[in-house]
Point group: C2
DNA sequence: TTTATTTATTGAAATATTTCGATGTTTCTA
DNA sequence: TAGAAACATCGAAATATTTCAATAAATAAA
C-alpha cells in the first residue's frame, strides 16, 4: 500500500470534515453501481454550484473517482485512498 | 465498539485537518509515556495561545485525553476514538 | 441546428478558523 | 506570602471555507 504523509492526511481529513461531503459519500455507497451528479440534487438541499464545489473537493483529493459518461459524470469511492488514510491513522497509535 | 455517526466523524475529521494538530499527535506518539504541553513549545513554532487552541480542539473531540498533574497537563492519545473513526471510514466502503 | 440537460466556473457575500498580544487563573517554590 | 511557571481565555486581525446567482461549456435530443 502506498504510504500517506501528514500533509496528505491533512487534506483527506479536511475533505471529510463537512456534512455535505459525508452525505455525498453515503449516497455513493447507497447506489448499487455508482452515482451520477444529478442524483444528488434530490437528496442534498444545496444549489448546484455548491454541490459541484463539494464534489471537486472529493475528486481533487482522490477520495472519489469520476468518469465522464456523455453529459453525466459517474462517481465511485476510491477504496485505496480510504485504506491509505486508515493506515495513517493506525500509525498515530503507539 | 461504540459507533460513530456522521456528525461525530465530521468533527473528528475537522480536528485532524490541521498540520499543527497532526504534529501534536505525532509528538504524543514520540514521547515514551505521555506529553506535557510545555514539550510542544520547543517543537511547534506557534505562540502559546495558538497551541492551547489546537490542544483544545483535540481534547474537545476526545481524540486526546488530558490529565492534570500539578501545574502541568499530561496528554495521551485516545486509541478508542481513533478506532471508532476508522470503523466509520470502513463503513463508507461498499 | 436549435434547444434542453448536465456539469463547471466566476465573483461576491456570509461564515468559520487560525493566529497572536494581552491578560487571567492555578499551582509550585523560594 | 511574593514571584515564577504552566496553561486558559479574550478580542481582534488575517485567512480560509461555504454558499449562491449568474453565466459558461459540453453534450444529447428534437
Amino acid at each position: 500500500m502506498a504510504s500517506m504523509d501528514a500533509k496528505r492526511a491533512e487534506k483527506i481529513s479536511k475533505a471529510l470534515s463537512d456534512p455535505t461531503r459525508l452525505k455525498i459519500l453515503n449516497e455513493i455507497k447507497k447506489k448499487a453501481e455508482c452515482l451520477y451528479c444529478v442524483d444528488l440534487y434530490d437528496n442534498i438541499n444545496l444549489a448546484q454550484p455548491s454541490i459541484c464545489h463539494h464534489l471537486k473537493q472529493l475528486t481533487e483529493t482522490s477520495i472519489i473517482l469520476s468518469e465522464k459518461e456523455g453529459r453525466n459524470i459517474k462517481y465511485t469511492l476510491n477504496n485505496e485512498v480510504i485504506d491509505e488514510y486508515i493506515h495513517f491513522l493506525q500509525g498515530l497509535k503507539k
